[in-house]
């Protein structure tokens, strides 16, 4: 059968600006209804713009087609398995989109008088309470806009906490497996990052930790389970070491999906936790946001929480309790952003918590761990077991890390090649080359919402790709073949950056 070029590939990329034609338009505006003097009569000419920005001129039907076709050039969670480690690509319920779109939520102005935003403030308060219970810490602020924002908040809280005690500490410890946002946040908060080694069980190297813990240490940042998908069994001892020198313990909650209703950061001894609502709590990732990174903290950190804080007050003269924005927080670190945070995200995550409830959340984590260990077991068989050994041989939590080192040495294909070849099989590849300490790392997080059939199909695909590679590395090295575009020249994009459409 004669084959034509794959339709997607035949269609060359063209931006909406290139589809512009003078005189076309989509939206029109209401009539002014008021006097229409020349603008110069209202605003001095030197403050006015000579030429309008060269936005595209395209009619609505072509705008719709442009973005609909563009959308098909994305792989998405609603189309297939997306085991991107550390990203918790779990099902995004459409119910959450529906309730977030209710006018009472979506059309509420952020500066509305709290007395006329009681529903929104109560929802925020209810979500705060829910996250406090899940994290095992009494106080929550929903203000941070993402995990990294939560990290910065946590470090600024740490700084304020120490300053309040008249101390100026300089160092923040984090394991070498930590996510890039951790050290980046440390620097932004004005601290110096100190790396702690990882032991042969994949946990914190205790001797190295002991060696580095002193009273210059402001904080230890941990992810637990960590980015290897392993729970650090020494967490209790770690906590007491840090607390002994007066430091705070920060929990990077990106992996909370492993322990909801099973184990709580607060009970592990953490002082500050951030939660990625766009991971464990089903906010869709949107191709790179929006998300939200609420923080839960212990009593001693509470005084420093960002302003404003949503509080529940007892109503005066017999009227029931009501909800308010508390700006009077003298020791607060202040604002991290405008208004009350990513409220639309709060609505979705609160709907998710209501839907699952206590038992549902526990079952979600339990199944996430079951799925991960099952896939890990499947990938310990056959060729995968031979070429892609697991980095640390023990039960994992919600994700696990394989090493492509033998595959690279024996078959001549790198982790990147395997990832690209997986694209031809209709799977999103795992996270690759992270964590850094595992050579040719493949970090796999199936999540609880995948079927056994999906996990099996993925394992079979890996097996098949390795079989292809035994016959020769070319197939994988040239992959992908069936994607809208094939391997892209990333070096060129950085060497000679073109970051906008020339007009």
């Amino acid at each position: 059968m004669p084959v034509d070029e794959i339709p997607m590939q035949r269609e060359r990329a063209q931006t909406i600006f290139e589809k512009s034609k003078i005189g076309r338009r989509a939206g029109i505006l209401p009539a002014a209804e008021v006097p229409e003097p020349p603008l110069e009569e209202l605003i001095p000419a030197r403050l006015l713009r000579a030429e309008p920005p060269r936005l595209p001129e395209v009619a609505e039907p072509e705008i719709v087609r442009h973005y609909n076709r563009l959308s098909r050039r994305n792989f998405d969670l609603d189309s297939g398995f997306y085991p991107l480690g550390s990203c918790t690509m779990k099902h995004n319920p459409r119910l959450n989109e529906r309730v977030a779109a209710l006018p009472g939520h979506a059309r509420l102005h952020p500066a509305q008088d709290p007395r006329r935003a009681q529903g929104a403030l109560e929802l925020i308060w209810l979500l705060q309470e829910s996250l406090a219970e899940i994290c095992g810490l009494p106080h929550v602020s929903l203000q941070p806009s993402a995990g990294s924002h939560g990290e910065l908040a946590g470090l600024l809280l740490t700084r304020a906490f120490h300053a309040d005690r008249g101390e100026a500490r300089t160092k923040v410890l984090a394991p070498d497996t930590s996510h890039g946002t951790n050290p980046a946040s440390v620097t932004m908060a004005g601290y110096e990052i100190v790396k702690v080694a990882t032991d042969e069980r994949g946990g914190v190297e205790m001797d190295d930790l002991r060696a580095k813990v002193d009273d210059e240490v402001a904080c230890l940042m941990l992810t637990n389970p960590n980015t290897l998908g392993l729970f650090d069994e020494n967490i209790a001892e770690i906590a007491s070491l840090i607390h002994a020198v007066g430091g705070t313990l920060y929990y990077d909650g990106a992996n909370l999906n492993a322990v909801m209703g099973q184990s709580r950061p607060g009970d592990m001894g953490f002082d500050i936790v951030h939660v990625n609502l766009h991971k464990s709590f089903s906010q869709p990732h949107g191709g790179g946001g929006p998300g939200a990174g609420p923080i839960a903290v212990s009593e001693r950190i509470e005084p420093f929480l960002p302003r404003p804080q949503v509080v529940r007050r007892e109503g005066g003269n017999g009227s029931g309790p009501y909800f308010d924005l508390d700006h009077e927080r003298p020791r607060s670190i202040g604002r991290l952003r405008g208004f009350q945070g990513n409220f639309g995200v709060f609505v979705r995550s609160y709907a998710y918590i209501l839907s699952l409830g206590a038992d549902g959340l526990a079952e979600a984590s339990e199944t996430a761990v079951l799925n991960a260990n099952y896939l890990k077991a499947r990938l310990a068989e056959g060729r995968a077991g031979k070429y892609l050994p697991v980095a640390f041989e023990r039960h994992c939590m919600h994700e696990f890390v394989l090493s492509g080192k033998p595959m690279k040495r024996q078959l001549g294909i790198a982790t990147l090649d395997l990832a690209k070849r997986l694209l031809d099989f209709g799977f999103h590849p795992p996270t690759v080359y992270f964590p850094l300490l595992v050579e040719e790392a493949l970090m796999i997080e199936p999540t609880e919402t995948e079927t056994k059939e999906s996990l099996d199909a993925f394992a079979d695909a890996v097996e098949q790709i390795l079989a292809e590679a035994e016959a020769g590395p070319e197939k994988a090295k040239e992959a992908p073949y069936t994607t809208p575009v094939r391997r892209l020249d990333e070096v060129k994009a950085t060497r000679r950056p073109v970051v906008r459409q020339p007009l």
Partner: protein, 467 residues
């Protein structure tokens, strides 16, 4: 309980067998017993979709949203009409559910959308390079400060106009605790930044000067004139702008700004009680490699097809870690897409017309309201879409009376500016008809008249507050 899992008892049995354990509990053994929760979370049991919907609909019904009230609130977020195609497109799974585009071959949709967004922002601001978006407005100001510190070889001082959004100033102050940097604030004169004071405040230690135009009082600043001081001392000029005014107002890039940024909500994003929206961030060519956030770049594939990738990733935390230009990872891609669609829908002509409409309706409203007894202008500076008034009666009570008539009359400046306890900030969008503006004038007048008398009594019953 609503679940989204698929594992049946039969599945679980097979899977456990393959793993080689007897129960999922065994898998949690790695968590030391004392750290196992060992009880259900103290949360209600899960409920059905229909019940969750009812519950959230009840909460939503207890908010006075912009459908329930005629909304003249602004202060950084505005009640613009979001075209239906924005929702239709952004709700497509293909845009809604992917992660950040780490695998460009299967993420061309999102990457090209970022590239188009960057182009649009670059056009709006008249600056050559834009990133793909940050969290929102105020934190973008703090991000600009971080860039300025990096660029400013040792300079640790910022000069900030009091016309910059209070949330931006407060956020900057919060971040500066970590930056170990100082902030000098310059006051306002007749609604705009005090030029002399600004000139005096800037020195050789100043890493950046921050202005906003239109500023928080709605006044259009003479950015070029004010910026001279920054240029003179080699400080970066950072200008926060309202994107919806850039169809008619001189863009920052033509006023000498090194960085233009702002709150993106007016572009295709709903109010959402303050978020999610996005922050935009554009700068001069030299700053490209110092920019925070994602940047999509154009390139080719092995067969020569045009494609897009995340460019200059060496700036970012996942590569550069503690030396990164910023810590941001998950940002606001979907909100930026909404803006891109909205801008394409308005188009070159529509965007300019919208700016003109805002300016003219605002001029009408300002005049109409200033003519109301008990109302006067707080300043006479030129405005684009928002303006400040002084009321002859306590602002909160006046607002309360207007609210009872279904009108959110504006933002009480006293919340943020003690010097403007009697100030009211009124915002106009294309959704605010002439009739609604006239109704506002009528309601304000009546409320002020009513209040002028019974101040004492009224404020008494008010004090502790409550819904």
């Amino acid at each position: 309980m609503s679940r989204y899992t698929s594992a049946t008892p039969a599945d679980r049995a097979e899977m456990l067998a393959a793993i080689g354990v007897g129960s999922t509990d065994d898998l949690f053994d790695q968590i030391p017993e004392p750290l196992r929760l060992g009880r259900p979370l103290a949360l209600p049991a899960g409920i059905s979709e229909a019940e969750v919907y009812e519950r959230l609909a009840e909460l939503a019904a207890r908010n006075a949203d912009a459908d329930a009230q005629v909304c003249f609130l602004g202060a950084g977020m505005y009640d613009h009409y979001v075209p239906a195609i924005v929702d239709a497109i952004t709700q497509r799974s293909e845009f809604l559910t992917p992660y950040t585009p780490y695998q460009p071959e299967i993420s061309q949709g999102g990457l090209q959308a970022m590239f188009e967004f960057q182009t649009a922002i670059s056009e709006l601001t008249a600056l050559p390079v834009s990133n793909a978006g940050l969290y929102e407005g105020p934190s973008s100001v703090a991000s600009a400060a971080y860039l300025a510190l990096g660029a400013g070889k040792g300079r640790r001082r910022f000069v900030v106009s009091r016309g910059l959004h209070p949330h931006s100033r407060e956020t900057l102050a919060t971040y500066c605790e970590g930056y170990d940097a100082a902030i000098a604030e310059v006051g306002l004169e007749d609604g705009v930044t005090d030029a002399a004071a600004l000139a005096a405040a800037v020195d050789g230690e100043t890493a950046a000067v921050f202005l906003q135009s239109p500023n928080f009082l709605g006044a259009i600043e003479d950015v070029e004139a004010l910026g001279a001081a920054a240029k003179q001392h080699g400080a970066l000029l950072v200008v926060a702008v309202d994107p919806m005014t850039l169809g008619v107002l001189r863009p920052p890039g033509e006023c000498g700004a090194d960085i233009a940024l702002g709150e993106g909500q007016p572009l295709g994003n709903r109010l959402d009680f303050g978020g999610p929206s996005f922050g935009f961030f554009a700068g001069s060519e030299e700053l490209l490699r110092k920019m925070p956030g994602r940047i999509a770049g154009e390139t080719d594939d092995v067969d020569g097809r045009r494609g897009f990738v995340l460019a200059l990733q060496t700036r970012e935390q996942h590569i550069r870690r503690e030396k990164a230009t910023h810590n941001i990872c998950t940002a606001q891609a979907l909100n930026a897409l909404a803006a891109t669609i909205h801008l394409a829908w308005l188009g070159r002509e529509g965007f300019r017309e919208l700016g003109e409409l805002l300016v003219r309706r605002t001029a009408y409203a300002r005049e109409r309201l200033a003519a109301t007894p008990g109302v006067e202008l707080l300043h006479e500076a030129p405005v684009a879409r928002e303006f400040a008034l002084r009321l002859a009666a306590p602002v909160d009570q006046v607002l309360e009376r207007c609210a009872e008539r279904g009108i959110a009359a504006g933002y009480p400046l006293g919340r943020e500016y003690s010097e403007y306890e009697d100030g009211l900030l009124v915002a106009i969008t294309e959704r605010r008809s002439r009739q609604q503006i006239d109704d506002l004038a009528e309601a304000l007048g009546a409320a002020i008249e009513a209040e002028s008398g019974e101040l004492v009594a009224n404020s008494a019953t008010k004090s502790p507050g409550g819904p």
